[in-house]
C-alpha cells in the first residue's frame, strides 16, 4: 500500500481527498487502480500525469517501481520550451 498525494484539481475528482491509499507496486498499477477507484481521474491519466517519487519526476514510465514508504506525488504533465 502506498500513499499518493493528489494535486488540487485531481483531489476534487477523488471526492475532495488530497491523499489516497493505493495498493500498487509500479506506476502502471498505480494508474490502473486509481482509475478503478476514481473513474473521474481516468481522462486525466489519458492526457498524461507525471508521478514524483521521492522528488524525482517521472512521466510515462509504467515500469517504475514505487518503493515502500516513498513519497508519491501526482503532478500535471508539463510543457517545456
Amino acid at each position: 500500500m502506498v500513499e499518493v498525494t493528489l494535486w488540487g484539481a485531481l483531489g476534487q475528482l477523488a471526492g475532495g481527498k488530497s491523499k489516497v491509499e493505493v495498493e500498487a507496486k509500479d506506476i502502471r498499477e498505480l494508474f490502473r487502480k486509481l482509475a478503478e477507484q476514481y473513474p473521474g481521474i481516468e481522462p486525466w491519466i489519458e492526457k498524461g500525469i507525471a508521478v514524483a517519487i521521492d522528488g524525482t519526476i517521472y512521466r510515462d514510465t509504467w515500469s517504475k517501481e514505487l518503493p515502500k514508504g516513498a513519497e508519491i506525488f501526482l503532478l500535471p504533465r508539463l510543457a517545456g520550451g
Binding site: G8, T61, G81
Partner: protein, 756 residues
C-alpha cells in the same frame, strides 16, 4: 540511470572540455542548411491567407478566381484538412489553429492557402480569394477576458476545476491549485505582509529563422517533410494524424534550426504544406514571413498575477499566496498551471497556496517559450520578496537564503526536494564580487532567483563504429545550441577515444526510433544518457570481439581508455587492443559493431539560478540600460562548459529584452500592431553588456555524470532582477512588464508628484 559516484572525484577526459562543434564549419561558411535552404525539383511556392480580424465567423470562402489564375496549382481551405482527430481535443485545436474552420479566432489565423509556380503568382492568388466574414466582438486582454461581460471565444467551454460545475460558458478554461498548509493561519503569524498585483505582456520567442518547410506527398501515401523543428518525431506524429497518413510512411528530416526556444515544438504551417502538396501533386515549399511568425506562431502568455507574502520580524516567511491568470490564445492551455507550480518553488514554505486560471483571448495560440510560464510568476514573486525584505530591513540575499528550499523541503508544487542548488547559487551570489562593486549615479542593483523543472523523456540513440575506428553517433534530439558537440564528448568519454573520432548527426524519423522533442532542457540530458547507454552496449560487443581475437573468455576482457585489456597474469603478453584494431577486424569477428539505446530519460532534476544585475536609469526619459549582469546556475555537470555559458547568456538576454521592451501591442481593433523586428524590440548588441556566468556543479543523482538540463532556467530570474534593480536605481516599483521608457517615466513622475 543513476549518478555514478565514481565520477564525483574523477577527472573526466573529454567531458568538461571545450572543443569546436562538429557542425561549426558549415555554419560559418554558409553551407549549413536551414529550413528555407532546401529545395526539391519541381517545387511550388506555398502561401497562406490569414484573417485580418481578431474574431469573425467565416461565412464563405470563394477560391474560384484564385484557382483559375495561371500558375496556381492548388488552393486549400479547412475542407482540405478534414477533422481526423477522433475526439482528441488538443489535436483538434492544433488542426483548427493550422486552418480555421468556422471562425477566425485571431488576427493572423490561417483561413486558406495556395501553391503556385512562383512567389508572385502565389501572392496574386491570395488576393483573389474572397472570404466573407461576420465580425464578432473580440477580447485580447487577459483580465478583460475573465469578466462576465467579455465576448465568449468558445461557447462550449465551461471552466474545469471548479468545486461546483459552472452553468454558463466562460473564457476561463480551467482553474488549478497547488500548495500545502494553511495560508490564512500563516498570514496571522506574519509581522509584515506585502501584497501586490502585477502584469506582464505577451512576448515572442523571436527566433531569427522563420518557420520553413518543404513537403512532398506522393499518391501512394508516402511523404517527405524537410522542416526546421525542435522535434521531428513529434511533427511526424502530428502531421500524420492531421493528414491521415501512416507515421512510418512520413519521413521527417529536421533541418538545421535557426532558433526555437519552444516556438518550434508545435506544428503551424507544416500540415498546410503537406495538404497543398497532396492536392497539387508536387513538392511545396512554405516559408513564413516575419509578419506571419509574429501574428500566427507561438507567443507566450500575457499574465496578471496577485501575490501576497507574509513574514515574521526574524525574516521567516509564514505564508505565501498567488493568483495567476495566463492567456492561452483562443485554445485551452495549461500555462497558468505551470506558473502556479513554479511560483514559489525556490522557497521553504509551511503555508503556501497558488491558484491558476487559463484564459482564452483573441491572440495567437500560446506556445512554450523557454521555461514556459515561470518567468512571469518569478517576476511577481521575486518582486514581492524584495519588497518584503525592504520592509523587514533585511538584505535581499540574506532574506532569500533564510527562506531558501533545500534537500528535504516540501516544494510549493508538492513533492519533497532531493539535492538542489538554490542555496548554493544564493551563497555564490552573496560572495560574488559583482555584489560589492560600486554603483554610480542613477544606477541600481537587483537580484532574483528562478526555478525550472527540466524534463527527460523518450530518447533513442545509435552508435555505429566504422571499420576505421571512427564513431558515428545518430541522435534523435534536434541540436538547438551545440548538443552534437556535447554528445560527441560523452561518446568519446565512455569509449575512451578522442572527441575528433566521433561524428554526431541528427537522424531523420525513418532512421531512428522515436524521440521526444528538444524541449524542457532535455536535449543534452536525455541524449547523453542514451549515448552513454549505447556506448556501453557497444563496449560489450567490443570486449566480445577482443575476446574472439585473443581467443580467451570475454569475462577476462575489460575496457579501459579506449582499449580492450586482457586481465590477469596469464595474459601478461597480450598487448591491449585499441578500438581501431578491434573495428578493423570486425568483418571477421561477427560484423559491424554498434551500440543502441532506447530509454525514457527520467530524473532530469530541477534547476535553480540566481541572477545579479545593475541598471542605469535616465530619470528624465525613463530609459534603462543594463550595465552589468551575472548569471549563477547549477548545471549538475557541464558537459561542454562553453555552450552551458551560452545557454545562461542567451536566456538572460531574452529575459532582459522581455523585462525592458518586448511586448505584443494590440490596437482597439484587436490587430497586432508590431509584427516585425522594428517595433517588436529584441535586444541588439549595443543594448547589452558582457554577461558573466558562474557554473555550479551539484551532481544530479539521476544521471551517470550528474548532468542537469541547463537551457531554460536562465530566462526565469531576469524580469524580477531588473525590476528589483529599477526599484533601487529609480525608486519606483514597476509592476508592469515590459518596463518600457513611457511606463518607467510615468512611474517616476507619479513618484515625484506623490512626494511633492
Amino acid at each position: 540511470m543513476n549518478f555514478d559516484p565514481r565520477f564525483s572525484g574523477r577527472k573526466f577526459a573529454s567531458v568538461g572540455t571545450r572543443p569546436i562543434r562538429p557542425d561549426g564549419i558549415d555554419k560559418v561558411t554558409g553551407r549549413a542548411r536551414y529550413g528555407a535552404d532546401f529545395n526539391m525539383a519541381g517545387q511550388l511556392v506555398g502561401r497562406i491567407l490569414r484573417s485580418p480580424h481578431a474574431h469573425a465567423k467565416i461565412l464563405k470562402i470563394d477560391t474560384s478566381k484564385a484557382e483559375k489564375l495561371a500558375g496556381v496549382k492548388a488552393v486549400i481551405t479547412a475542407a482540405d484538412l478534414p477533422d481526423l482527430t477522433d475526439g482528441d481535443a488538443a489535436m483538434y485545436d492544433v488542426l483548427d489553429n493550422c486552418m480555421a474552420r468556422s471562425k477566425a479566432l485571431y488576427d493572423g489565423h490561417a483561413v486558406a492557402a495556395v501553391a503556385a509556380v512562383d512567389a508572385s503568382t502565389a501572392r496574386q492568388a491570395l488576393k483573389l480569394i474572397q472570404v466573407a466574414y461576420e465580425l464578432l466582438p473580440h477580447v485580447t486582454d487577459v483580465d478583460e477576458a475573465m469578466k462576465h461581460t467579455a465576448p465568449l471565444i468558445n461557447d462550449t467551454i465551461f471552466t474545469e476545476g471548479l468545486e461546483e460545475k459552472p452553468v454558463k460558458p466562460s473564457n476561463v478554461t480551467k482553474r488549478s491549485q497547488f500548495g500545502h498548509g494553511d495560508v490564512h493561519q500563516g498570514f496571522g503569524h506574519a509581522d509584515f505582509i506585502v501584497e501586490r498585483s502585477f502584469k506582464t505582456e505577451q512576448t515572442h520567442q523571436g527566433y531569427i529563422e522563420p518557420h520553413a518547410c518543404v513537403a512532398n506527398v506522393s499518391s501512394d501515401g508516402t511523404a517527405d517533410l524537410w522542416v526546421c523543428t525542435q522535434g521531428h518525431f513529434v511533427y511526424r506524429q502530428h502531421c500524420a494524424q492531421l493528414l491521415g497518413l501512416e507515421a512510418s510512411k512520413l519521413r521527417v528530416t529536421s533541418s538545421e534550426i535557426g532558433g526555437g526556444f519552444g516556438g518550434k515544438t508545435h506544428v503551424w504551417a507544416e500540415p498546410v504544406a503537406l495538404a497543398l502538396s497532396r492536392k497539387a501533386g508536387r513538392p511545396v515549399k512554405l516559408v513564413m514571413t516575419r509578419d506571419e511568425v509574429f501574428r500566427a506562431s507561438g507567443p507566450t502568455s500575457a499574465t496578471s498575477i496577485d501575490v501576497k507574502i507574509g513574514a515574521r520580524k526574524d525574516g521567516t516567511i509564514t505564508a505565501a499566496e498567488a493568483t495567476l491568470r495566463y492567456s492561452s490564445g483562443p485554445y485551452a492551455g495549461t500555462w497558468a498551471e505551470i506558473g502556479a507550480m513554479t511560483a514559489f518553488a525556490c522557497y521553504k514554505l509551511d503555508n503556501v497556496k497558488t491558484v491558476g486560471y487559463e484564459v482564452l483571448v483573441n491572440r495567437p495560440k500560446t506556445a512554450a517559450y523557454r521555461a514556459p510560464s515561470a518567468p512571469m510568476a518569478a517576476f511577481a514573486v521575486e518582486s514581492a520578496v524584495d519588497e518584503l525584505a525592504k520592509e523587514l530591513g533585511m538584505d535581499p540575499v540574506e532574506f532569500r537564503i533564510k527562506n531558501a528550499a533545500q534537500e528535504g523541503t516540501r516544494s510549493s508544487y508538492g513533492p519533497v526536494y532531493g539535492p538542489i542548488g538554490i542555496g548554493p547559487t544564493l551563497e555564490a551570489a552573496k560572495t560574488h564580487p559583482h555584489m560589492k562593486a560600486p554603483l554610480g549615479k542613477n544606477q541600481g542593483r537587483g537580484m532574483a532567483c528562478g526555478f525550472w523543472f527540466n524534463f527527460g523523456g523518450q530518447t533513442c540513440t545509435d552508435l555505429n563504429i566504422g571499420m576505421d575506428g571512427s564513431v558515428s553517433l545518430a541522435v534523435g534530439t534536434v541540436d538547438v545550441g551545440g548538443s552534437r558537440a556535447s554528445l560527441s564528448l560523452v561518446a568519446a568519454e565512455e569509449l575512451g577515444i578522442a572527441y575528433e573520432q566521433v561524428k554526431a548527426v541528427v537522424a531523420d524519423t525513418s532512421s531512428l526510433g522515436y524521440n521526444d522533442m528538444t524541449d524542457g532542457s532535455r536535449g543534452t540530458f536525455s541524449s547523453s544518457m542514451a549515448t552513454i547507454s549505447a556506448a556501453r552496449n557497444a563496449i560489450k560487443i567490443l570486449r566480445d570481439r577482443a575476446a574472439q581475437m585473443w581467443d580467451i573468455p570475454v569475462d577476462d576482457v575489460v575496457w579501459e581508455n579506449g582499449h580492450a585489456i586482457a586481465k590477469g597474469e596469464k595474459y601478461g603478453n597480450l598487448a591491449a587492443l585499441s578500438l581501431k584494431e578491434i573495428a578493423a577486424a570486425s568483418g571477421k569477428t561477427g560484423g559491424p559493431i554498434a551500440g543502441h539505446s532506447e530509454l525514457v530519460a527520467d530524473g532530469a532534476g530541477v534547476s535553480f539560478a540566481t541572477h545579479i544585475c545593475d541598471i542605469e536609469v535616465d530619470p528624465e526619459t525613463g530609459a534603462a540600460r543594463v550595465i552589468r549582469y551575472t548569471v549563477i546556475q547549477d548545471a549538475g555537470k557541464a558537459v561542454h562548459p562553453t555552450y552551458v555559458e551560452g545557454q545562461y547568456q542567451g536566456g538572460a538576454a531574452q529575459g532582459i529584452g522581455w523585462a525592458l521592451n518586448e511586448e505584443y501591442i494590440y490596437g482597439k481593433d484587436g490587430r497586432l500592431q508590431n509584427a516585425g523586428f522594428l517595433d517588436y524590440r529584441i535586444p541588439v548588441c549595443s543594448d547589452l553588456p558582457m554577461i558573466d556566468t558562474q557554473i555550479l556543479e551539484i551532481p544530479n543523482p539521476n544521471h551517470p555524470y550528474g548532468v542537469r538540463g541547463v537551457g531554460e532556467t536562465s530566462i526565469v530570474p531576469p524580469l524580477a532582477a531588473i525590476a528589483n534593480a529599477m526599484s533601487n536605481a529609480a525608486g519606483v516599483r514597476m509592476t508592469h512588464i515590459p518596463m518600457s521608457p513611457p511606463r518607467v517615466l510615468a512611474a517616476i513622475e507619479a513618484e515625484r508628484e506623490g512626494r511633492a
